[in-house]
């Protein structure tokens, strides 16, 4: 009886001390962790839309979209997170677009677990820079083994077709959804007559 009591007392004390320590540590750490997460989002927005001075968070399709404004308060574009599955796992992309949601201003890869040295190259500057000032209409497309041609075309990474095409697919899906939700009727569909000069063919997947 004495032994069991001893065991119970020790375990209760261990539990109580452990719980108290963890609660105090949590209270100290949680605000810092929230700040870190917000700072990571803010950094990503500034990376894709460098002229942003301030941003406003709006909710679209139960997701958060960041309305980027310059120092005069004018809307200069939108930034949002697009997610989807890549070759090995989830890819999370911060996208910056102009205020008409027609041109992609830049992207940044927030999360990805693609193959190191191959698919992971989507996180590197050369791949991401391709998306600067690319037209998102009617959709972004990719080509393999040759240089990108049209205003909405990028070149896939050699040996990482699935990762590259996943990025393109994720972007197109998110942009289409956002255009429907944010732009007024009549502006949110693609019309051949609005085509940017230089796009000689209508898009489709090119091989």
């Amino acid at each position: 009886m004495k032994k069991s009591l001893h065991m119970i007392i020790v375990l209760v004390i261990v539990g109580a001390v452990s719980g108290t320590t963890l609660v105090s540590m949590y209270n100290y750490a949680q605000p810092l962790i929230e700040e870190n997460k917000k700072a990571a989002v803010k950094n990503a927005i500034y990376k894709v839309l460098p002229e942003t001075e301030a941003y406003e968070v709006i909710a679209v399709n139960d997701r958060q979209v960041y309305k980027a404004k310059d120092d005069a308060g004018r809307v200069i574009g939108y930034a949002f997170v697009a997610e989807g599955s890549g070759y090995q796992g989830k890819i999370s992309i911060m996208v910056g677009m102009d205020s008409k949601l027609k041109t992609v201003k830049g992207i940044d890869i927030l999360e990805s677990v693609e193959t190191p040295g191959l698919g992971a190259k989507i996180q590197e500057k050369p791949f991401k820079d391709q998306f600067k000032n690319k037209s998102a209409l009617p959709e972004i497309t990719y080509v393999k083994n040759k240089a990108a041609d049209g205003p909405n075309e990028i070149q896939a990474i050699t040996g990482a077709t699935v990762s590259s095409s996943s990025v393109v697919r994720i972007l197109n899906k998110e942009i289409a959804g956002l255009r429907k939700a944010l732009l007024p009727e009549g502006e949110n569909t693609y019309d051949e007559t609005q085509a940017v000069t230089g796009a000689t063919k209508s898009s489709g997947s090119k091989k």
């Binding site: 032994k3 375990l11 452990s18 963890l22 810092l32 962790i33 870190n36 990571a40 190191p116």
Partner: protein, 232 residues
């Protein structure tokens, strides 16, 4: 301290001759510490804690932070276990040690997330997994539960620093061969591209960044260590 000098030779893994353990306090403390670095290195000699060793050593930076977290957890846990070793009933000792270890691991995890956020993202689930790292429970059970506070701390520091050195070595080799650079750092406090040792003409060995490379490098390192050290 006198009761410690009267104790009979402590059990170790048998790799250190028993007579050297009966020396005076400071030298014995030194031996307690130094054995974890080389003779009884947890990774290369005892082959403990292989899972995080293989998983997080894709770069020297990752290996360093994982190792430092283990230094913190093992030293604190060993100190607490040693301080209360006479009070904890032996039937519930493993449960108690695990609870103590888990508390310190959670503290370390929260601290990393708060102060070194990018590293905590990269190390991901492997920090919470320190709870089940054999090295920590192993040292608490084999040494801290049977020895005084100062000796337990020395042993814990030696083992965990030995672990850190092993991880940095493994991570450094894999990072060097897998990216051409070594010791790249990406922290909020400090960004460094890494020493470009291999030069720009080097085509990285991608396999070194994948799990297969971890096994290969670790196996070769263990083989080399076995060649160098004298047979007991």
């Amino acid at each position: 301290m006198t009761d410690q000098l009267k104790q009979k030779p402590e059990e170790t893994t048998g790799l250190i001759p028993a007579q050297s353990l009966n020396k005076t306090g400071v030298y014995r403390l030194y031996l307690d510490f130094i054995k974890g670095l080389w003779q009884e290195n947890p990774v290369f000699i005892q082959l403990l804690g292989m899972c995080p060793t293989l998983a997080v050593t894709s770069s020297a930076e990752n290996g360093l932070f994982m190792g430092l977290s283990v230094v913190f957890v093992l030293t604190c846990a060993a100190a607490v276990v040693s301080m209360f070793r006479k009070v904890i009933p032996s039937q519930v000792r493993i449960v108690t040690y695990t609870a103590i270890i888990a508390t310190f691991v959670t503290v370390a995890d929260l601290f990393l997330k708060a102060e070194f956020y990018p590293i905590s993202i990269k190390l991901g689930p492997y920090i919470p997994l320190i709870v089940v790292n054999c090295i920590i429970l192993g040292r608490c059970e084999a040494f801290s539960s049977k020895h005084g506070l100062i000796r337990s701390i020395a042993d814990a520091l030696g083992m965990s620093i030995g672990f850190t050195l092993a991880l940095v070595l493994l991570g450094g080799i894999r990072e060097l061969l897998g990216t051409g650079k070594v010791f790249a750092f990406n922290l909020p406090q400090f960004i460094f591209e890494g020493f470009n040792v291999m030069g720009s003409g080097f085509e990285p060995w991608i396999i070194m960044l994948l799990p297969a490379g971890a096994f290969i490098v670790l196996g070769i390192l263990i083989g080399l260590m076995n060649l160098i050290r004298p047979r007991p």
